[in-house]
């Protein structure tokens, strides 16, 4: 066959989709509803004088038209399939026969070209039994051209048939459509695509991972030509066997594993790692737009799974394995809706801007910062009530608990007045507290409190503007989730906060954080030293050095070596 010759020639390599263009109706994948009808029509010689083939790209419209042209002219007709061997079939395949005209309607869309057809169609065929006019991309004909075609299309001479093919049937005038037998080609299902690709690979002697083919099929979105183009590219790219990674590299999509990682981060409201992942993906040359779409499809699959686990045949990105099931079951359905909605919104905006990465990041932050609850109004109302209750409670508690606060307030000035070893009892308590805090503190806790810090300040401001002013001198520097250490630049500010505003600030923190958080105060330079000492101690944990007096060590840690003066008892 001609294909073999061409495949043999080194000079002109031909794309797979051209080499493997179906030569028989039965080779056309996934369109049995059409091929059966046509085969029967051919055998019974009851074919129409005008066909309209519509459907998305790469579903076999032009191929079917070409096959029909051969089948009705085949010397062995009536047949179900063209033989592709007789003089007529070969002539049509070579393009040496003048009676089969394949016209590109996009380039020849004027009235003049249609008039030419109209004048020519009257003449009897030269070599064959039927004249066949294949008008491809017929939606591009001008209105005048369509109308010029109408009469010919309705009553052509017995020896002529028309086959119109288009991807955009809505652009065809109804008067044309009503004169044709219309066939709608469907998108080809992934399994059909995989079957055809496997067949071709076998014939060509290449190998591919099963999963890689599925990935190609999913990306092709029902177009055989898309699938074969991708396969072509994958064959060129791959070393021996076509692997999933090869396909991912070509299509610019990310792996399912990666999508899961990002989705999990979103689920856990962990915007930092979600954004780090994005950074990573873009660094690897992935397109943000493609990425956000993949993610949308992933969540769509989650939603489908939640609707019914048996819908996994229409999954787009996800495979229905155990990890996925577990992931899907842990998610709230309402949240998935919101995520898809948000992603979709940001994707729309993304298309018009060069700062795609920024949009992606914002989308993630937006999703992570969403409230978990479905109807926020109800929750807000409840929150307000709880707040009021808390205030009452705090007011009651204040009276008995004030001594402790006062104690601490008294302790502070002493400490700040350059502590001496003589003030041991009060100090030791403070020291132990800070030490405990440092040991239990974690970065997450600090981030947690820092995230709310602004809100806390706003809350304080609502109650007392001076308190807010005094407080703005400080920064939260370390926290273990229950306690937080505030470092002040100025001693006076610290004293004011400690003496006058402690209950007020304490309350604001409780309100914002949703749980009681205690705060301790220190001065920024002290904190620096404390941190340094803590780090040194941790660094030296591995290599134990000579042991010194624990009390002295603690004191040094707390106040720095310049301040602490060690006087031996003896």
């Amino acid at each position: 066959m001609m294909n073999d010759e061409e495949r043999g020639s080194r000079v002109s390599y031909k794309a797979l989709y051209r080499v493997w263009r179906p030569q028989k109706l039965e080779d056309i994948s996934g369109q049995t509803h059409i091929t059966k009808t046509l085969q029967n029509a051919l055998v019974q010689e009851k074919f129409s004088h005008a066909y309209l083939f519509t459907g998305p790209r790469g579903t076999g419209k032009t191929s079917a038209a070409k096959i029909i042209a051969r089948a009705i002219n085949c010397e062995k007709a009536p047949v179900r399939e063209p033989c592709n061997e007789c003089r007529a079939c070969r002539g049509i395949l070579d393009g040496t026969v003048v009676d089969v005209v394949e016209m590109d309607a996009a380039s020849n869309n004027g009235v003049d070209e249609i008039r030419y057809i109209r004048d020519n169609v009257m003449a009897a065929p030269r070599d064959l039994r039927y004249k066949v006019y294949i008008i491809d991309e017929v939606h591009m004909l001008s209105t005048g051209a369509f109308n010029a075609l109408l009469k010919t299309l309705e009553e052509p001479p017995k020896h002529a048939i028309f086959i119109l093919a288009t991807t955009e049937p809505h652009k065809i005038p109804l008067t044309i459509v009503s004169r044709c037998q219309r066939f709608d080609f469907k998108r080809i299902s992934p399994s059909d695509l995989v079957a055809r690709m496997t067949y071709i690979l076998e014939r060509e002697g290449w190998k591919a991972e099963e999963e890689a083919l599925h990935l190609i099929a999913r990306t092709a979105e029902g177009g055989m030509r898309d699938a074969l183009s991708l396969l072509d590219q994958a064959i060129s790219f791959a070393e021996e066997t076509i692997t999933v990674d090869d396909v991912l590299a070509i299509t610019g999509t990310v792996s399912e594993r990666f999508l899961r990682k990002v989705a999990t981060a979103l689920k856990e409201r962990d915007s930092v790692s979600a954004i780090t992942f994005v950074h990573e993906a873009i660094q690897n040359g992935k397109d943000p737009l493609q990425f956000i779409e993949d993610l949308m499809y992933y969540f769509r699959d989650v939603l489908l799974y939640k609707t019914s686990p048996s819908l996994d045949k229409v999954f787009h990105r996800a495979t229905n394995d155990e990890d996925f099931q577990q992931f899907a079951e842990e998610i709230e359905e309402a949240w998935v809706y919101e995520v898809i909605h948000a992603l979709n919104q940001y994707q729309q905006q993304m298309k018009t801007t060069p700062h795609r990465k920024v949009f992606l990041e914002m989308a993630f932050i937006h999703i992570c910062k969403q409230e978990k609850s479905p109807s926020s109004q109800v929750v807000e109302a409840l929150e307000r009530k709880i707040e009021q209750l808390e205030k009452k409670l705090l007011a009651q508690n204040d009276a008995p608990s004030s001594p402790t606060t006062a104690d601490r307030a008294r302790a502070k000035p002493e400490k700040t007045a350059r502590a001496r070893p003589t003030q041991a009892p009060v100090l030791r308590e403070e020291k132990a507290r800070l030490q405990g805090l440092l040991d239990e503190a974690s970065k997450q806790d600090l981030e947690w409190i820092v995230e709310r810090w602004n809100q806390i300040r706003q809350e304080v401001k609502k109650k007392s503007v001076p308190a807010h002013a005094w407080l703005s001198d400080s920064q939260p520097v370390v926290s273990d989730g229950k306690r937080v250490l505030l470092a002040f630049q100025n001693d006076m500010h610290r004293n004011m906060v400690e003496k006058k505003f402690r209950p007020l600030i304490q309350e604001a923190m409780t309100v914002v954080c949703g749980q009681p958080v205690e705060f301790l105060t220190t001065l920024a330079p002290h904190w620096e030293k404390l941190k340094q000492a803590y780090k040194e101690r941790h660094a030296s944990d591995d290599t134990p050095r000579e042991e010194s007096d624990p009390v002295v060590e603690e004191a040094v840690k707390l106040f720095g070596s310049e301040i602490v003066e060690v006087i031996e008892d003896k």
């Binding site: 080194r10 000079v11 002109s12 390599y13 031909k14 794309a15 051209r18 998305p56 790209r57 790469g58 590109d104 996009a106 380039s107 869309n109 491809d136 991309e137 591009m140 991807t167 177009g223 030509r225 898309d226 183009s229 072509d232 590219q233 064959i235 060129s236 790219f237 590299a249 070509i250 610019g252 915007s271 930092v272 954004i275 780090t276 950074h279 660094q283 040359g285 397109d287 905006q349 298309k351 018009t352 801007t353 060069p354 700062h355 920024v358 949009f359 990041e361 914002m362 932050i365 937006h366 992570c368 910062k369 820092v450 995230e451 709310r452 810090w453 602004n454 809100q455 706003q458 920064q475």
Partner: protein
């Protein structure tokens, strides 16, 4: 040239090299990548690799007559189509088809490169379809575009798509630093691409000034100072005069808030690396969603700008909104 491009676009060049080695070069490619990625350059060396008389493996020499003619656009079998005005018209495609219906002048292969292929009119795009799928003689088509979304699906399905990755930020920064713009190198690298001729190096003084304006402006915004409107009037609008300049100014502003976010997340690659203390302070004051909201405001302002909104009103609105935010 080939090797230089290979460094810049490893994936694309590897793909092409392998295709040539295996004699599996497709008949139609779509090169897709941001402005500034070397799409045209790759298209030309690819053409050279098909004609060069002194090929070194797959690498064209770049010196022989064939290579030089292609480089200068004089080769009779390598045609280039550029948009005629705003779009690529149908008659351009028809001319191309006519040219290609003659046998090739010298070699067996004919190459055409369509620049900004997304700008083809609907009829031009449809006209090229059949020609792309079933050319009569051996043909290599290369369509270049910044945006595949505006290209017909039917064209895409007939060709192999190669995506060009933008050059990584760090390479760009390094290149600008080499060119002696230490302070604003990270900013320049974000705004433009040093590999291409259209970069902002000539404007570096202007950007240095713009940069300090941004820093002043954000500080005033975050302090909720009413002074900000005067700064806008006296300095900002005097500096960022026309629409394009204002767009750059908004970009600078956007990068500032982006940095705030980066600092909050403990990331290192900042556009304003020397302002880390200030950024840290600001990041502490603002919650993550507050920063995100500010970025959104800036981006929205950029969109309005594209719609030719009065620039003073636009900026005033933006600043007031930024100040209102929590």
């Amino acid at each position: 040239m080939w090797h230089q491009l290979k460094e810049e676009q490893p994936v694309v060049m590897r793909m092409l090299e392998k295709s040539i080695e295996k004699n599996r070069l497709a008949h139609a490619y779509v090169f897709e990548g941001e402005a500034g990625t070397p799409k045209k350059e790759v298209a030309l060396v690819l053409a050279q690799s098909q004609f060069c008389s002194e090929l070194n493996g797959v690498v064209p020499c770049g010196m022989c007559a064939e290579c030089r003619r292609i480089e200068h656009g004089n080769h009779p079998d390598v045609l280039m189509i550029d948009p005629d005005g705003a779009t690529i018209k149908k008659h351009q495609v028809e001319e191309l088809q006519k040219q290609f219906s003659y046998k090739s002048m010298e070699a067996r292969l004919q190459v055409y490169i369509v620049n900004e292929a997304d700008k083809m009119t609907a009829s031009a795009a449809n006209s090229i379809l059949k020609f792309l799928e079933d050319p009569e003689s051996p043909t290599l088509a290369i369509l270049l575009t910044e945006n595949t979304q505006f290209i017909l699906e039917t064209i895409l399905s007939r060709s192999q798509k190669l995506s060009f990755s933008p050059p990584s930020l760090s390479t760009r920064i390094a290149l600008y630093e080499e060119k002696g713009t230490k302070e604003i190198a990270p900013l320049l690298a974000r705004l433009s691409n040093p590999f291409r001729e259209k970069d902002l190096l000539d404007m570096s003084d202007w950007i240095v000034q713009g940069r300090s304006l941004v820093i002043q402006l954000v500080q005033e915004v975050e302090k909720k100072s009413p002074q900000v409107l005067f700064t806008l009037q006296e300095k900002w609008l005097a500096h960022f005069k026309d629409r394009e300049e204002l767009e750059l100014g908004l970009d600078l502003l956007l990068f500032w808030y982006r940095d705030c976010l980066a600092v909050k997340h403990g990331q290192a690659d900042l556009a304003y690396p020397d302002q880390e203390t200030l950024l840290k302070n600001m990041a502490l004051q603002l919650s993550e969603s507050a920063i995100a909201m500010r970025m959104q405001q800036v981006l929205e302002a950029k969109r309005w700008l594209l719609a030719h909104v009065n620039s003073q009103l636009l900026m005033e609105r933006l600043l007031l909104r930024l100040q209102e935010g929590l």
